[in-house]
Each structure stands twice: as C-alpha cells, then as structure tokens.
C-alpha cells in the first residue's frame, strides 16, 4: 500500500475534527497542545498514513499538506 505523511499548519487548525472523521486509516487525532488561536490542532499520532489526501479535501482551513512517499 502507498505510504504518505501529512504536515499540519497548526496555527490554521481550528480543531473541527472533520479530517479525523474523514481519515480512512484513522491515524489522526486532536492533540493536547494549544495553538495561537486557542484551538487544539490535529496531529498524526501513529504510522500508517497512505497519503490519500482525504483529510486535506475535508479541511475548511487548508491547514493540511499531504506527501506521498515512493519506495524507489
């Protein structure tokens, strides 16, 4: 299966959780940190991201960047 990773621009995140619900492999969660706006940004807490980009498609604040890792 394809591998990927995400980068969250934490200050843009509003902790709505739409990406957590959209992730098909459930590797996202709301973190315990607090960003400059007072929200708890989302984070990838375990391995297994497949780089599908569903989290980015559901993000209302364009806070997520998605990378796909190829083995070659």
């Amino acid at each position: 299966m394809a591998k990927g990773r995400i980068e969250v621009s934490e200050d843009y995140c509003k902790s709505c959780g739409l990406c957590v619900a959209a992730c098909p492999v459930k590797v996202l969660r709301i973190s315990d940190r607090i960003n400059m706006k007072g929200h708890r940004p989302v984070e990838q807490y375990k391995e297994g991201c497949i780089g599908c980009g569903m989290c980015a498609i559901s993000c209302p604040d364009a806070a997520i960047e998605v990378y796909r890792i190829s083995e070659e």
């Binding site: 509003k14 959780g17 364009a62 990378y67």
Partner: protein, 248 residues
C-alpha cells in the same frame, strides 16, 4: 525513497490569513475549492468576484482576487454590469441562502432569465448564519431557529424554497447543479461541478448556477461532524443532489 507533495495550501488563498469562520464551517471548504480551481485555470489576475452580505462578506480577505462588495442580495445585478463591461474577465458571485434566496430573489431570477454569462455559487446552510440563526427561506420544516423556536411551521412560513428546481424551470440557464461538501466524496464532486461552471463561463455558454449544501454548526447547535451528518439525513432528502439543467 522520494516524496511528492500531493496537496498543499492553494496559491490564491491569501498568505498568513486565518479565516473568521467557525470551526468546521462549509464556507472554508467552498473557498478552498474555488482557490484550487483559480490556480488550476490560472485565472487569478482576471477573476472578479461579488462578495455577498452574510458570513462570507469578508471573503475578499481570504481569496486573492478582485472583488466588488455587493449590497444585500444584489450580487447578480452587480455581476451583470461588470461582465457586460469586461466580457473577457471571469465573474462569479458567491452568496448564501439569506442573501440569494430571500432579499436577492428578484436579482437572481432575472439574471438567470437573461442568461448572463456569469457563475453563481449558492451556499445553502438552511439558516441565517451571521445574524444569529434566524429562519431563512431554505430552513427545513420543523427545523428550529431563533425566529421559529418551535420549528418552522408551513402554515405560517410556507415551505422551504428549492432554488435549483426554481431556476431550472427557466429557459436560459445553461447549467444548474446541486452539490454537497459533507464528505470528501461529495466534495470531489462539488469541485467538478464548480469547474464546469467556470468552464462554461469561459466558453461563453451562459448562466451557470451551483448550489452547495453547507453546514452551520454554531447555529444548528451541533458539532462539525454531527452537523454534516444532520445535513445528509435531513437536507439531502429535501434538496436532492444532482444536475438539474445542462445544455450539453
């Protein structure tokens, strides 16, 4: 090992800007789709949008294109003037349901009936968001709002207006579709619909209208995830998704 970036913040989204929208608001998703399309078409320097009155009134702070702030509901009339003066520009309006279906009903129907070569993006969240959750023309039967605390009663307020069906009864509009942003699969379809709307305008095919079913977690009193579930359970049966008119 090599890495490819498959998704990043759109170029036409203003840099270093935090939107004022509530967490989980569908406006942000719709804005992002428009930004992605402006980047894909490469039309950032020749796009003019009419900002509405409503939650999206400050959208000129978020998408880096030119704007005219239209009075409440009058965006299609302003867009008509701009498109007729600058036919080579891409002109779109972005309106909520209180703006388009209530006070702006006359403007949208006549702009559609004249077949103006503009794209109208209609965000339907079944409530007045910015002013504090009053009943909108699109509020569902039984749905609670601050001006109908016991739920909308059709004896007093009539039935919710289906704008797509209403405009599809006219002869001239070339493209009318209703989409949703409740799940990634619907969001992908919504992007395709918006893309078609912009492409028809570039090809001078006439009036295109895309209704986007959105959410209002704050005024519906639900969490962002629950509000999109509520939308799929309650709004989609009354406002069916799909293409209502396509000249092709």
């Amino acid at each position: 090992m090599s890495e490819t970036k498959i998704y990043s913040r759109p170029e036409s989204w203003m840099k270093e800007v935090h939107t004022h929208y509530c967490p989980g608001c569908g406006h942000g998703i719709a804005h992002r789709l428009i930004c992605e399309l402006i980047d894909e078409f490469g039309i950032q320097d020749k796009t003019i949008s009419m900002a509405p009155v409503g939650c999206a009134a400050m959208m000129y702070d978020y998408i880096d294109i030119d704007y005219v702030e239209a009075p409440h509901g009058r965006a299609p009339a302003v867009a008509t003037g701009i498109k007729r003066v600058y036919p080579e520009k891409i002109v779109f309006t972005y309106q909520g349901d209180g703006d388009l279906a209530s006070i702006g009903m006359a403007e949208i129907i006549h702009a559609a009936n004249r077949g103006e070569n503009i794209t109208v993006i209609f965000i339907n969240n079944a409530i007045y968001g910015m002013t504090g959750g009053q009943m909108a023309p699109t509020t569902l039967i039984g749905q609670k709002a601050t001006t109908c605390p016991l739920g909308r009663d059709p004896q007093l307020a009539g039935y919710p207006i289906r704008m797509c069906e209403l405009l599809a009864s006219l002869e001239t509009p070339s493209y009318i579709e209703r989409v949703s942003v409740a799940r990634p699969k619907y969001t992908i379809k919504a992007k395709e619909a918006l893309k078609k709307g912009f492409r028809y305008q570039m090809d001078k095919k006439g009036f295109s209208f895309i209704e986007v079913l959105s959410s209002c977690p704050t005024n519906w009193g639900l969490t962002p995830i629950k509000s999109f579930e509520w939308q799929l359970e309650n709004m989609v049966p009354y406002y069916p998704l799909g293409i209502f008119k396509d000249f092709e």
